[in-house]
Structures are given as C-alpha cells and as structure tokens.
Assembly symmetry: C2
Homo-oligomer: 130 residues x 2
DNA sequence: CGTTACGTTTACGTTAACGTAAGGTTCTGC
DNA sequence: GCAGAACCTTACGTTAACGTAAACGTAACG
C-alpha cells in the first residue's frame, strides 16, 4: 500500500536527501541520528528522515552540528524529566530569539542588497548612452 | 568636530567590532579588506568599517568569506565596466533570491520550534500534578 | 636607554565537517 | 561458487577560518 517503505537503506536516503553515506554515518557518530541496525546495516525510519530534514535545514541557517544536536533534543519530548525539560525549553526559547533576530537582520540585508541592485541598474542605464 | 576619528587603528577596530587582529589581517589577506598603510601600520577608514560590518553580518548568515567577497564587489560600483556590472547584478539577484528563500525557511523553522516549545510547556504542566 | 605598548610578518596548530582510500562482510544473480 | 553490488569499519587527508607562538620594528614614557 505504501509507496514509500517505512524503512530505508542508506543509499536510498542519500538519493532522497542528496547527501553522502559518509555524511549520514558522520551524523550518527555525532549522535544526531540513530538508525535501526540489522546486523551491521543501517535502516532509517520516518523519524530518522524527519531528523535529517531538521539537520540539513539547521545547516542552511549556519548552525553547527552541535547546535543542531541540542535543537533536536527539543523534538524528543520523551527521555527527559521535569528539570531537564524545563532547561531544554529555556534553551529553545533563547534559540528562537536568536532565529528571530537573524531573520530580521536578513530582511535588512535583503533590502540593502536590493537597493544596491537598483543603483546598479540605474548606472547601467546611464552608461547605455555613452 | 568628529567624535569618531576617520581613521582607526587595528586595536580600535578590534574593540569596536569584537574581532581579533588576526581576523582583520586574515580578511585583508583574503582581499575582503584593504586598509590604508602608513609604513607597515594599518589604518581603517569609514569605508573599511562599513565593509567589516557586511563581512560580519554575512558570517552570521552562514556565508563563506568567499561568498562575502563576491557580495562586497556589489557594493563597489566603481571599477567595473558594463559587462562586469551586468554579471555582478545577475549574481546579486540570485543571491537575493537565496536570501529570501532562507528567510522564508527560517520563518517556518521558528514557527515549528515555537510549536514544540508550546507542547513542552503543556507537558510540563501535565507532569506537575503527578 | 631600557621597557612597555602597540604594531608587524611568518609559520605552524586547531576545529568542524566531512572526503577518500583501504580492506573486509554479505547477499544476489548467473 | 564466484563476480558484482551494496554495505561496513578504520583511519588518514582536506578545507575554511582563524588561533597561537616566535621574532622583530618603533614610539613614547620615566
């Protein structure tokens, strides 16, 4: 019934997410992923894929793998007692603030670059008549 | 009249921007900066400071120094002929697209993280009664 | 005139995030 | 039963972005 098999091999993962096997094993080594093991082979579940998406997105934002590892912990509701959870939530809130700041700054940068582009086009037009 | 002296020494720069001398010299080596030279000493102008701001901001967005070097070229209107300018503008437009995409993605990520945080708080409240 | 502050160059060291090569296992088709 | 494909581990190599140490110049201060 399911076109996507629940468990995926490493090469299937690589194709779907455009990463190398080395990268996936590296993330595992750094405890960002923990795929099922059948013998020595790795099998990636839906959950693993969701985590990988978050990893890759984090990277695009310029977060380090260590940063991302901590972010991922927030998506693991289980495995934390009250105190741990509370601390995690604080870190998460802080991270959200940073992300908001980053987004605002990004907006400013976009606006500035667009201004420069407009100037550039103007210069191009002016130079046209020479 | 000016409270900020037009030309700043390397240590003044370091203090103002919270970077090390090594970093400034490194950026210079990579042709991101080109401070005035009096003998061997470096003197940073207003323009150099503007460029450094852009460098540091670029870094916060996860851009590589090489990326940033190209971005800086867009703020140098001079020194480019028509063809060069046109190509630069294309690159700039592309970069803006990427930055927009990054900002959108960032918004999504923020929303998701906030959802998780809300869930976390709910869990915290639920666990309170145990 | 020595030393302290501030600057310089040159060059090797370090960390993150993988790449890449070597050598070994396991399954599958012929 | 063996070649090839897909997987594995171990381990050294690589790039970016600086850190850090050594060895030196120079300008002012006491």
């Amino acid at each position: 019934m399911s076109t996507v098999s629940e468990q995926m091999t490493i090469s299937q993962m690589c194709q779907q997410f455009q990463v190398t096997p080395r990268a996936l094993r590296f993330y595992e080594d750094k405890e960002l992923l923990a795929p099922l093991r059948i013998g020595a082979k790795r099998l990636y579940s839906h959950r693993d894929r969701a985590r990988l998406k978050l990893i890759l997105r984090g990277k695009r934002f310029g977060f380090s793998l260590e940063d991302i590892r901590q972010l991922l912990a927030m998506y693991d509701t289980h495995g934390s007692n009250r105190a741990q959870l509370a601390r995690t939530l604080e870190l998460a809130a802080l991270r959200v603030q940073q992300m908001r700041a980053q987004r605002d700054e990004l907006s400013v940068a976009i606006a500035e670059l667009e201004t420069e582009i407009a100037k550039g086009h103007a210069a191009l037009m002016a130079a046209k008549g020479e």
